[in-house]
Amino acid sequence: MGASMSDEGGTPYDGLTDEHGEDHRWAFGTGFTDPLEGIDTSVPHGMEAPELAAYCLALGDDALIYSHRLQQWITRMPELEEETALGNIALDLLGQARMLLARAGSIDGRTEDELAFFRAEKEFRNVRLVERRDEDFAELVGRLLVFSTWRLALFDHLRDAADPVLAAIAAKGVKELTYHRDYAAQWVVRLGDGTELSHERMQGALDRLWPLVDELFTPRAGDLADPARLRGEVDVVLDTVFATAGLDRPDGAPLAFVGGRAGRDGVHTEALGYVLAELQSVARAHPDATW
C-alpha cells in the first residue's frame, strides 16, 4: 500500500481521507474482504444446508470466543516470547473463526460481522470451556492444551468432510493447531515437572478445567466426527502429556447441563456476557462504521 501511494506522489496521510475511494486504507491490516472471496460456497448434494451452517457456526464461535480470551492476556504475559506466541495463536484462531463464520453465513445469508458482532449471548454456540477467564498462567496453558488437542483431532477428521469448504478450512487449521498443541503441551510439562509450587498450580488448573471437558464430546445431531472415537484420540494425547509432566488426570464431575442444554444450545456460563460486551461494544456503538 505504501508503495502504491508514493507512486502517485501522495503522503502517508492521504489514506486517512475518503478521497481515494475503496483502494486506500488508513493502516496495514485494515479493510476486510470476505475471507471466502471467489470460493464456490454451494452446498454439496446430500448435505443438509441448515445443519452444515449450524456446525460451522459452532466451530467458528469456539475459535472467536477463545481467541478473544487469549487476546486478553496480551501485555500480561511473563515474557515477550510468550506474548508473541500467544498473539500468533490467537490470530490463527481468529482467522479460522472468520472463515467458519463466513461459511455459515454463506448458507444462511449473513456476513461474518453480523454473526460476530450482532448476535446475543444465547445465539452463540461455543462450548463453555472457551468462555472462562484464566485464573493464572497454568490455567492458560492447561486450557490451551485441552482445546487445541480436541480441535486438532476434530479437524483431522473434518479434512474428509463432504463439504469442500469446511474440509479446506480444517486442512489448513490442522497445520496451525499442531504448533498450538506443542506449545501448550511443552508448558504443561515444564510446570508439572517443575518446582513443587508450579506442579501444584498446574494440577490445580487442570482440576478447575476438567468439569468443562465432557461437553466437548457430547453427541449431537449433525456430528461430522464420532465423539467417542474423538475422545479416545484426545485421551491418548492428554495422558501422554500428563504422564510426562507427572500430573494426575482429574476426575471431577462434569459441569451439569441446564435442562439437557449447554454451550452448543446457547446456554452459557456468566463469563460469556463479559466477553461479548467487550468484543461487540465498538461495532454496536457504530453499526455503520467500516474498518
Partner: protein
C-alpha cells in the same frame, strides 16, 4: 499473453516478507487471462493472515498499471499452503536477508506427532553459516517464523517454520 500477466503478478512483493515476491513465497496459485479479463488466484499462508487484502490491492494496482483494466483476485483454500512451496530462489533471498529458510514439511496426512521438547531441526545460521543453532521461541513476530540463536556467532535470527 497468460505469461505476461503472470510475470507482472509474480513480481509483486509480499507485504510481510518483502524480500520475497508472491511467486517466491508460493502463494500465487494461478493467473488466467480470458478475453481481456485477468483472474489471479492466491492462497493464504496462515488462516489469520492479515495481508490478504493488501496483496489483493497490490496485484490489482500493478496489473492495472500494466494495462489490464479488468482484474479479479480470488482466494483458494485447498490445497493448504505449505512452506515447501517457497521456491529455491525464495530460499536464497530469505537467507540473504538474514532469515533461515524452512526445512521440508512432514507428510500432509498420517498421524500428527506430539512434540514435548523444542523441535530438533538442522538450521544453519544465515549470518555465519554455523549449524550450531538453538530455537529460543516457537513463535516470532509472525506465526510463520520461530526465533533462533546461533551459538557460534551469538546472533539471533528468525527461521521460517515448516508447515
Amino acid at each position: 499473453m497468460v505469461s505476461t500477466a503472470w510475470d507482472i503478478a509474480a513480481t509483486v512483493p509480499d507485504p510481510e516478507l518483502p524480500m520475497l515476491t508472491l511467486a517466491d513465497l508460493g502463494i500465487l496459485r494461478d493467473v488466467d487471462e480470458t478475453g481481456g479479463r485477468v483472474t489471479v488466484t492466491i492462497t493464504p499462508t496462515y488462516s489469520g493472515c492479515p495481508a490478504m487484502r493488501e496483496i489483493s490491492h497490490d496485484l490489482q494496482h500493478q496489473l492495472r498499471r500494466a494495462g489490464y483494466d479488468e482484474v479479479c483476485v480470488r482466494t483458494a483454500l485447498a490445497p493448504a499452503w505449505s512452506s515447501d512451496w517457497i521456491t529455491a530462489e525464495g530460499r536464497r533471498k530469505l537467507a540473504a536477508a538474514g532469515v533461515a529458510p524452512p526445512n521440508p514439511a512432514g507428510p500432509a496426512r498420517g498421524p500428527i506427532p506430539l512434540t514435548l521438547t523444542p523441535r530438533l531441526r538442522s538450521v544453519t545460521c544465515p549470518h555465519c553459516g554455523s549449524a550450531e543453532t538453538v530455537e529460543t521461541a516457537a513463535f516470532s513476530a509472525t506465526a510463520c517464523k520461530a526465533l533462533y540463536r546461533c551459538t557460534a556467532c551469538a546472533e539471533p535470527f528468525e527461521y521460517v517454520k515448516e508447515i
